[in-house]
Symmetry: D2
Amino acid sequence: MFFASDNWAGAHPLIAESLVKEASGAAAAYGTSDLDRRIEERFNQIFQREVAVFFVGTGTAANSLALASVARPGGVTFCHSEAHVTADECGAPEFLTGGCRLVPVEGPGGKLDPTTLAAAIDRYPPGAVHQGRPMAVTLTQATESGTVYSLAEIEAIGEVARANGLPLHMDGARFANALVALDATPADMTWKRGVDILSFGGTKNGCWCAEAVVFMKPDMAADMPFIRKRSAQLFSKTRFIAAQLEAYFEGGLWLELARHANAMATRLRTGIAASNRGRLAWSTETNEVFAVLSKDAATLAESRGARFYDWPVPQELPNLLGENDKLIRLVTSFATTEDEVDRFVDALG
Amino acid sequence: MFFASDNWAGAHPLIAESLVKEASGAAAAYGTSDLDRRIEERFNQIFQREVAVFFVGTGTAANSLALASVARPGGVTFCHSEAHVTADECGAPEFLTGGCRLVPVEGPGGKLDPTTLAAAIDRYPPGAVHQGRPMAVTLTQATESGTVYSLAEIEAIGEVARANGLPLHMDGARFANALVALDATPADMTWKRGVDILSFGGTKNGCWCAEAVVFMKPDMAADMPFIRKRSAQLFSKTRFIAAQLEAYFEGGLWLELARHANAMATRLRTGIAASNRGRLAWSTETNEVFAVLSKDAATLAESRGARFYDWPVPQELPNLLGENDKLIRLVTSFATTEDEVDRFVDALG
Amino acid sequence: MFFASDNWAGAHPLIAESLVKEASGAAAAYGTSDLDRRIEERFNQIFQREVAVFFVGTGTAANSLALASVARPGGVTFCHSEAHVTADECGAPEFLTGGCRLVPVEGPGGKLDPTTLAAAIDRYPPGAVHQGRPMAVTLTQATESGTVYSLAEIEAIGEVARANGLPLHMDGARFANALVALDATPADMTWKRGVDILSFGGTKNGCWCAEAVVFMKPDMAADMPFIRKRSAQLFSKTRFIAAQLEAYFEGGLWLELARHANAMATRLRTGIAASNRGRLAWSTETNEVFAVLSKDAATLAESRGARFYDWPVPQELPNLLGENDKLIRLVTSFATTEDEVDRFVDALG
Amino acid sequence: MFFASDNWAGAHPLIAESLVKEASGAAAAYGTSDLDRRIEERFNQIFQREVAVFFVGTGTAANSLALASVARPGGVTFCHSEAHVTADECGAPEFLTGGCRLVPVEGPGGKLDPTTLAAAIDRYPPGAVHQGRPMAVTLTQATESGTVYSLAEIEAIGEVARANGLPLHMDGARFANALVALDATPADMTWKRGVDILSFGGTKNGCWCAEAVVFMKPDMAADMPFIRKRSAQLFSKTRFIAAQLEAYFEGGLWLELARHANAMATRLRTGIAASNRGRLAWSTETNEVFAVLSKDAATLAESRGARFYDWPVPQELPNLLGENDKLIRLVTSFATTEDEVDRFVDALG
């Protein structure tokens, strides 16, 4: 009953198999092999336009290097106050952009609100050297709260960014989960709505380690080969990342795995809602579930082998918990089984 | 006939198998799983003392973060002028140490010379704020020139470092190749000779992606968890690195693979020396061979499918080449076959 | 009628004279002259203990280098949300600390609240590598809101810092104004209340350019000579800074100038409060006055030659302004005259 | 008998007087006053074109921020191996460019040699991500060796830079001394010969603290306001720098002061050459003199009050010194007197 995080899972057998297949033979290093090229091409198809793709090792690297590619002296990036870049990356975005700042912006449901965002940007009048200057907007899809921006919501954020001359970055650590939740195409959810740079994550959805920075306009990527190398993210055997993605994309495996994870979350939500031992903290649409449990129920579940994280109560929901309650986060993955879900619900009491 | 680099090879089947085995099941992320712990323990045994181990994704990361762990304002690190840190890492050590400098020091055979090193350090008198101040010495074992420091040579460098109060780092991207060339133990080649921090490389010797920073004195590693995370090198599924290393160490596989690579290089050296179509540029002791070929012979070999790199002539050997000659580098790996070597020698003319 | 900022003023005649006196003669450069030493000694007397003093060129430099001296990988510094370091320094503290983060904390009256501060620090549990880790607390005395921390308030913040093992930095750009407002000694207002490092500002109080980082415990300053030099803040003719401070301290000039500036602010507050054309936005204790004016009155005053800045309404006072009001900031200085104050009040309508 | 450095001198009386004049009155801060604007205009006249001027506090800041303005990820700057940027700035150029590298290039007489420079740049083939990539060339005029690049020599370096698409920076800490030595105009010595960015130094030639970064093409300076501010080099009372430069330029004072310093150096060279107690190490053309003295003569001179620095022997002159000799550097300034020079020569024996 592992619901701590989707990165506690291993790798899908087909992805493992693809890695094994690449074990033999020799090929050019540092991202120049035929396989690397082939997967880069695959991204063009998936996004229905020519994109520039840079494989990196971690989601933190993808986010940080994406922001480094648009960094400028005195630059500030606007993000949601609960975004992974600001909450969970130990200052890597600041460090790897050479000291640029993240400005947290509040918004309900883990999502940036376009009006609040615009107001935050307006606090930086052009030429005001003392405050610094806007350099980017970043949003997370799916969010850290398990919610999903609708296409219209992404577009609204994209319009604020464009009106201010700012590139829009999407942290897509759970890109596939959001995509299938919306039943949208990758193009729909990105450049058609104003997204310029995407952190494309495969690790949480069945790969071992497969992340990429995807530039929707390749000419924005001119410095990226050097940014990646000087940040120690150019792997010599990059084809081990490419090989994972080959299997990941093959026959739509990635979408299938995300659908499974989301479905398991739905089952979990249903189970919790139907039980009388807990309730949903808020509604979610992907593979994350936030539940309010009594402390006793939580302790019991843990004693029965359930693994999950306690979660801080969002500022916007100050009255969420009763005195003996706690908020927990449950994450399903490609590897979660129906049985595991059902056992968890049973374990609550 | 792939001799371009040992990182053009894939992965050893046993290492691939170990990865597949880890594909199923769930485990704690970010380096806290049982497997991670077990492999860390394994390093203790291998180095015959308690060490602190940090898995990272690339050799450049290992070197840069090792230096970052001893960085201080105005700090300079002394390295050989042909060392990977200064010649091939796009400034990553400077960037990831927050702007510290690498000072190249000349020495024959790709090795630091203790006297020259001591003289270079002496140019930084204590308290001389204008020049900056020494912060570390780094040497590469095996060197970029295919040579190996003897244990006494490492000790001599270690003494210069210690006399100046400087930590000694070893870039061990080809640690195993050097180890078997010297028939030494890991302890012999590191802390017993004054090495404080090691970049332990597995990628070039049969892994896909398995590098580690190893601190011989764990209390030097206090900042390292944060250095690694803010540099985007903390993998969520670190156990995929640990799994590779599990197979790598099992039954001494790593030493066996290095012995094979070195043996193939010996065969290559013998073949070239015996041919009348080229000669060895200098004597090497590991899996790198440097040969002087006529340009015609080199072109012919390439047309027959041989892959290798042209190499710049070392400053210390200004008369190495005749008018129609070129210097090339050939690297063997765990995957190189005797047949491949023999075909290369045949291909020269 | 210049009330835009105290840094619009020139320099006090005695300070100008001291500079002229130093124009002739030669002396050792880079802070090693007799005069430099003498002024460093003077700081020891002023602070009633041995301190380490580093002259720098700007207040932003003093703050940034003070924080750089306690920086560590993944480090975060807690400051008030309106503090100069976060609101007005274009990311210099982040840049010059190598990418460390400033975490803004709310508090009424421009002051950190110890309970809120402690709660903010508690969000960083020891060893939690994802969030980063606390490295310092910084407070501003006098604050950007014109208020002053009482000695007990500084002590309370100092206790929170100490309880968390964090150094406490004080941004003293208006140190003298606070000192005379409290009628305290420098020792009282700093190390006796838990302050470890002080940005000591002279520029806003009658110098041209005289700032210093003062370490209350000299052994915390071991890296500072290198931090200052690599940040391009070691002036060759540092004695031009020392000469300013010589006159600044002579006969208590600095305290006299600060008393004058504060007295002019009191006169201004009295004048505005007594007029029926504006009111004080909140009570202040130093040389800054915040007033609510009708937009018409503000426009009129500007047309009559008054210079001041519009100011953003603090989050905690959402209902401060009526529909036709604006909030302005007025700053007096050592050079402000009674006549200037009176003319301003007259100019309002 | 102060010949340690031209930054041991104070300030010229007319410059001191100009500062005093600016002490009274109020003016807009942060470089926006009328005086600031007027001096910026003055630079346009001096350079016979529209330039962009940024006042900063130190020569190290001018050099570092000039390079920061053309920095890019993985960037390397080519400089002479004895240049101030690499020999005397404690890594500030590396730190303030976010980790870019300085590559030292050898050349006789302290000057870059165009052929050697071109060869050094050629070691960075376009797109070679591992080595990094060229970002700038910097030369020092006058050099650290007391020599001066002829206009043709600057042009030759400029051509190498242009052929490689690189901006050319000139470290002009002793700009005036070189200018009068060549009897050239500022335009002749800079943009007409390919210089793009100049560190314009006034401090060593009679100012207290007056340095500027001058962009010959203002559109290269778009980021510079932010670079300067985030590096803590935007002074609030910048007009104290402008006031110094006002007097410095008035009536050609700056050229007169430089001519005087150079003449004193000529007198010193003549005196040493004519004495039988020392000899010139090499010929110089500005206000620096390098002399070979017997150790006894040097000790005697010091005991009689002479102040100078020992100097390392250049690599290119391995046989410069006899067994009992030492190499010393003597620097004259605007404040050096004939009497001081003559007493020094007498003091040698």
